[in-house]
Amino acid sequence: MAEYAVELRNVWKRFPGPGGEVVTAVKNVSLQIYDGEFFALLGPSGCGKTTSLRMIAGFELPSEGEIFIHGRPMGKTPPYQRPVNTVFQSYALFPHMTIGENVAFGLQMKGVDKKEITRRVAEALEMVRLSGYEKRKPKQLSGGQQQRVALARALVNRPEVLLLDEPLGALDLKLRKEMQLELKRLQREVGITFIFVTHDQEEALTMSDRIAVMEGGVALQVGTANDIYEHPNCRFVADFIGETNFLDGKVAEVDTDKARIELPGGVSLWAHTPQRVVVGQAVTVTVRPEKMHIRPNATDINQVTGYVTDIVYIGTDTHYGVVLIGGQTIRVREQNYAADSRLLAREGEEVCVRFSIEAARVLTE
């Protein structure tokens, strides 16, 4: 067995557009997905994540580059000869077949004998907790149930890789949360590599071992949820995952892995520099709101002054909007962990916002 369950090597996909022009949906994407991993392709709609998934499934062929599944180049292999199965966004359950027939379809195509099919279908339906639904038609099931049938229909074939295209998109919030945990449980149970496409960052963070953030056909960053949240490598990733503050400024002084950044209004702060920067370079500093404090804290070196413009109290936290001297606005999130938390400032009050060097990250892209 090769090291990777799926590998995309310099994959491009171009489509003819409606006006005859060429639309590039996927641009030079290279990804390595490990065996047994729960991997998410995350990005806004039109970012190329679904196209990438469809190329792994074989519904689309790459214009350039190659896709490997367990080390085997897929080339022009049609979908029905690939060791992967897909759970579709709209489930794509065959409306003219019963649930049992739907789940049995793949096994019938493989030529598995009848007794074995019956046994495995029952097993698969039990796994998604739909035993006894064999004789029903898809129309008679709720959205959540259809979703689980789609899962059973794919998993019953024991694919090497399971592809999921926004499978929870059509469900309501509560059901979606339930299914997220359910999917995670199933993945551990069957030990199959899951590749999951979603535009919902929270969903990606909740479920995945690793995430690839895509935008404009490019895979911007690949890493664990923690990596991506704490060490975003560009402005888009920092912005797309969670909430963050951006402060624009110029590099004034460079140390080994940190730099002093001057903001408009004469304020300056120290920030961590993952990439090399030079003095005078225009950069953006990102600081997560929960890593900023209004409350005095001795270890925080950076201090910027501003006025509170608005306060949102949401129980666990309080959000403060602050406009800095130079005119840039930031949001600060203070946790209300004390037994009797009170507001730390009033609207219009001048405050000093503090944060550590590590919390501030210089982004060059």
Binding site: P78, Y80, S90
Partner: protein, 279 residues
């Protein structure tokens, strides 16, 4: 639309329109029991021979020309329906699901027969076949008995031609809401193109194909104009036969024929409805 209380005027107008639609049918049926041979005035119920009031019905079944015409009509309708349904469905799939060179032209070509008066198409086909047959007959110097002439073949071919666009139209309407993901799902689950078509695409578009076939069959059964120009010896269909009769004397036999016709269609429809309900 929701069901609401209907205005009495609307109801009255609707009943009158229904009456207009049914009056001729009722007249047709009643006169099939007419005692008068000339069938101009209703002179009481016929009671003649072993069949009694159904005298004209029995006469009908003894009439060889009618039986021949019925046979021809059915042969033409069945053959042209099968062929035009297959070709029309293929064209619908191509136009709805594929992109290819000449798609716009094909679309227009298939729309054209629908907006062309039948007589123009009939004349065209007549001119075409007489030219081709004349040319072949001369070129091969065929003896009079071997010469190619208009007949069942030319009628069937013409019916196929005018049915295809209608089949395509109906099947395309059905394909319009078709979810391509279903085919991808089948392929994803290991079915090749052929199996996918047989197990997923075809069952799902079957109602549309069936509706197209029904339309083609009805059009063929009912067609007069194109048949009129493309028929030849030994290929008289019922409409052509009836038209010929109208120029001579019409007996209540014709009414008996149309009564049976309506009954047969009603039975066929009832059976198909019953099948649909069982689904």
């Amino acid at each position: 639309m929701s069901a609401k209380k209907q205005s009495p005027w609307l109801t009255l107008v609707s009943i009158l329109v229904y009456f207009f639609l049914y009056a001729p049918i009722i007249v047709l049926i009643v006169f099939s029991f007419n005692a008068s041979r000339t069938n101009v005035v209703f002179e009481g119920v016929v009671n003649q021979g072993p069949c009694g009031p159904f005298y004209w019905y029995c006469e009908l079944f003894r009439n060889r020309s009618v039986m021949d015409a019925t046979r021809n009509t059915l042969i033409i309708a069945f053959t042209s329906t099968v062929v035009s349904t297959i070709i029309g469905t293929m064209a619908a799939l191509a136009l709805q699901r594929y992109d290819f060179f000449g798609k716009k032209v094909s679309e227009t070509a298939l729309y054209f027969p629908i907006v062309t008066p039948e007589i123009v198409m009939g004349i065209g086909i007549l001119v075409f076949f007489s030219a081709v047959f004349g040319w072949i007959n001369t070129a091969l110097a065929l003896a009079p008995s071997q010469r190619l002439t208009m007949g069942l073949g030319t009628v069937i071919v013409s019916h196929i031609a005018f049915s295809i666009p209608f089949v395509t139209l109906v099947v395309r309407a059905r394909l319009h809401g078709f979810d391509d993901r279903l085919e991808e799902a089948a392929m994803d689950l290991g079915a090749n193109e052929f199996t996918t078509f047989r197990k997923v695409t075809l069952p799902l578009i079957a109602p549309g194909v069936l509706a197209g076939a029904m339309l083609a069959f009805t059009l063929s059964l009912d067609d007069f104009i194109i048949t009129f120009f493309t028929t030849g010896p030994g290929a008289t269909t019922l409409p052509i036969y009836v038209y010929g009769l109208l120029r001579r004397i019409v007996t209540p036999e014709l009414n008996a024929l149309s009564t049976i016709w309506v009954l047969v269609v009603l039975i066929v429809v009832a059976i198909s409805q019953w099948f649909q309900r069982r689904e």
